[in-house]
């Protein structure tokens, strides 16, 4: 592997006495579509926030295409796109205004930002809603709009936190196809997700995080080890006993 697109070394973050990220190391090759999976509270969002310059780490380095995110934020941010977890956007802008704003914040000329936003809205199937306020968008539309904002400056690396959480199958398919196309052009994607089937289908690289540590990383086949990703994940992070014995009344055969 040449120079990795994303290189993370010894990243740590504690909140009070709780260690949210306990020293992770990660390398993602350029042109890779990588998944970061883990149970709730495993440290996915904290890790992605530190990788994207939104949360200051206690220790560790994040290097994106040779640029240190925390030593040279302007240069690193210029080549990164970020879709945060909840896709909270500027609700009082229309979809078109929002994408244009994202482009112009990145220093793009207004005409180019306008033209790219129109193209992205078209690909994201949002053209018909381009002049509606984001406040009136559904969850799927918000996620697509957030993805458009993250892509408008054509970043080399795209970070997405739970991009398909609460998204309907049609919107999910649009997002999936766009990410695949983006990676096909040589760019890199790292996204966190709970949806193992999706990660298994589209990712060529998977990292499993649990209790703030990377417990497995490699190509999807390596991490699966001949099993489904779901099974490999459960084997690695463990699972709580169901405890359903107490629900003897549940089910149509009970009264």
């Amino acid at each position: 592997m040449g120079e990795p697109a994303i290189a993370v070394h010894g990243l740590r973050k504690s909140f009070g006495t709780k260690e949210a990220v306990a020293g992770i190391d990660l390398e993602i090759a350029a042109g890779s579509l990588a998944g970061l999976v883990g149970p709730n509270g495993a440290g996915k969002t904290t890790s992605l926030s530190m990788m994207t310059g939104l949360l200051r780490p206690d220790t560790g380095r994040v290097v994106v295409h040779g640029l240190d995110v925390w030593a040279d934020p302007p240069a690193a941010k210029a080549i990164m796109g970020v879709v945060p977890a909840e896709a909270r956007l500027f609700e009082r802008l229309s979809g078109q205004e929002l994408l244009e704003y994202a482009g112009r914040l990145r220093g793009m000329p207004a005409a180019e930002a306008r033209s790219r936003s129109a193209q992205l809205l078209d690909v994201l199937d949002l053209t018909a809603d381009a002049k509606r306020l984001v406040a009136d968008y559904s969850t799927g539309m918000r996620k697509k709009a957030a993805l458009g904002c993250a892509l408008i400056h054509n970043p080399a690396v795209l970070f997405l936190d739970e991009p398909l959480e609460g998204v309907d199958p049609v919107s999910a398919d649009v997002i999936r196809r766009l990410l695949t196309r983006f990676v096909g052009s040589g760019s890199t994607v790292l996204f966190s997700s709970h949806v193992m089937e999706l990660v298994e289908q589209v990712c060529d690289h998977v990292s499993i995080i649990d209790k703030g540590k990377i417990v497995a990383t490699g190509t999807t086949d390596q991490v699966r080890g001949g099993k489904t990703l779901q099974q490999a994940f459960i084997d690695l992070v463990g699972t709580k006993a169901s405890g359903a014995e107490g629900l003897s009344w549940l089910g149509s055969s009970s009264s």
């Binding site: 310059g53 939104l54 909270r88 009082r92 205004e97 914040l105």
Partner: protein, 528 residues
Amino acid sequence: MARLLVQLKLRLLTNALRSSRPARISFIVSTFFAVLVAVGTFVTLALLRGQSAPVTQTAAVFTVFAFGWLILPLFTFGLDGTLDPATLALYPLRTRPLAVGLLAASATGAWPLANVLGLLGVTVGLARGVLGELTAVVAVLLQVLFCITLARFVTTGLAGLLRSRRGKDLAAFLVIPIFALYEAFTQVVPRLAAEGKITATTFAGIDKWLRWLPPGLAAHAIQDASAGHAGAALLRLGLLAAVIAVLGGLWIRSLDRALVTVDTSTQSSAVHGASLPFARSGIRGAVAARYLIYQRRDPGSVVRWFITAVVMVAASVSTIRTPHYHVALILSAVIGAGMLCIFQANSVGITGPAFSLEATALAGARSLRGYFSGRDLALAVIAVPLLAAVSFGLAAFAGHPADGLWAVAIDLAAIGAALALSSLYTVVLAYPAERRAGTPLPTAAGGHGGQAFAAAMGSLFGVALVSAPAILAVELTSSVPGAVRVPVLVLGAADYGIVLAWAGVRWAAAIADHRLPELFQVAARSKL
């Protein structure tokens, strides 16, 4: 059903006491005010005894209460879980028992009880004799029942709208007339009453109209019964009961419809002119465009500007028509800019999690200077004409319209100070904000009240202090001819304001450059 829904309402009320500290404080404050309203209303109505036309004032008080019941549920729609029929639509309930239950739930709580107890002041103030007293009790109960049915009818009819973004916006705008009425009653009415321009006879004509409205019917029934006209009293109470029955019938039909009507709260229309303005001005232009759009489309922003104008007027009302009117003009300008500073002193916090878009794109002092200067430009585009218009209006009201010109000079300097200080405060004192249901303006999230108080005090005193050179210049040049004095003052103050704002931009950008992740974490914790 009635018992179940009353228990639900009581559970919701007691849970408020057990939940978060702010919710507990809100509950205690609300109950305290309910007690105050009950005692205040009872005493006010009781003191009408022996006055010339107690029925007129009683009818007016009854009407004010009905108006309150009409308006307030629109604000508290998201707070009271029993107000929205959609929350009950999934349960197998018949409409009539449900309606009775909802009515009983509405009558439960401190405020309905405060209404009944307060309005019973009529038993002392207006009622005479056994028949009068009996009629008073019935009339008060019918009046409160009318208020509750009216509130239920309006909230059920508007439930779909109130759940939608547009409905919430409209409810937020209702703050504007209510705030204006509050200021008028607390500032203007006492002054006009002291000047003898408002007396009891001023309202004499109103009764011609009020007596035929349901609250007026209740008040006049008590008057009739007290005067021995039992038939007329009974007729009025019967008419009031019929109005309540018709309103109740309409409400049940509307409830029936609301339980099976599809939710249209996500339907919306398009906005005009979907491209951002200021295309040639880079990041500064983009941020200015975004801020300017928000000042227009965000109800909270519109309310803020309105409050600024009203507070400017209210601050000057006691002295504007006196020989010391110039003090009122100075005070008004400084307080207007102070309000601008207070409202923008946490602009990162009130931007909320959407700040992630800006935090991931901006880096380096240069782009952050563009960010803060864009924000300042958008705010100045509204603040300068607004404060100038209020200053000119007040100067004209004082009878010295030309003095509005030097007042504008103070406006310009104070606006510059407000922009500079609010830029600094937002990068140093930023705190998470949260919007509670029923309030259009976000407030400090739990545990951050101290920062909000510090920013508010720092805004008012800071703007006054930094504007002092302009105020001194105005005071020291009062003997200079206006043709020379005004242009020099206005241009000098404008330059001073611009320099202040620019210094604020540079300083805030330099600080934000080192604190951007921390500022984002604050914004991300806001709940808007």
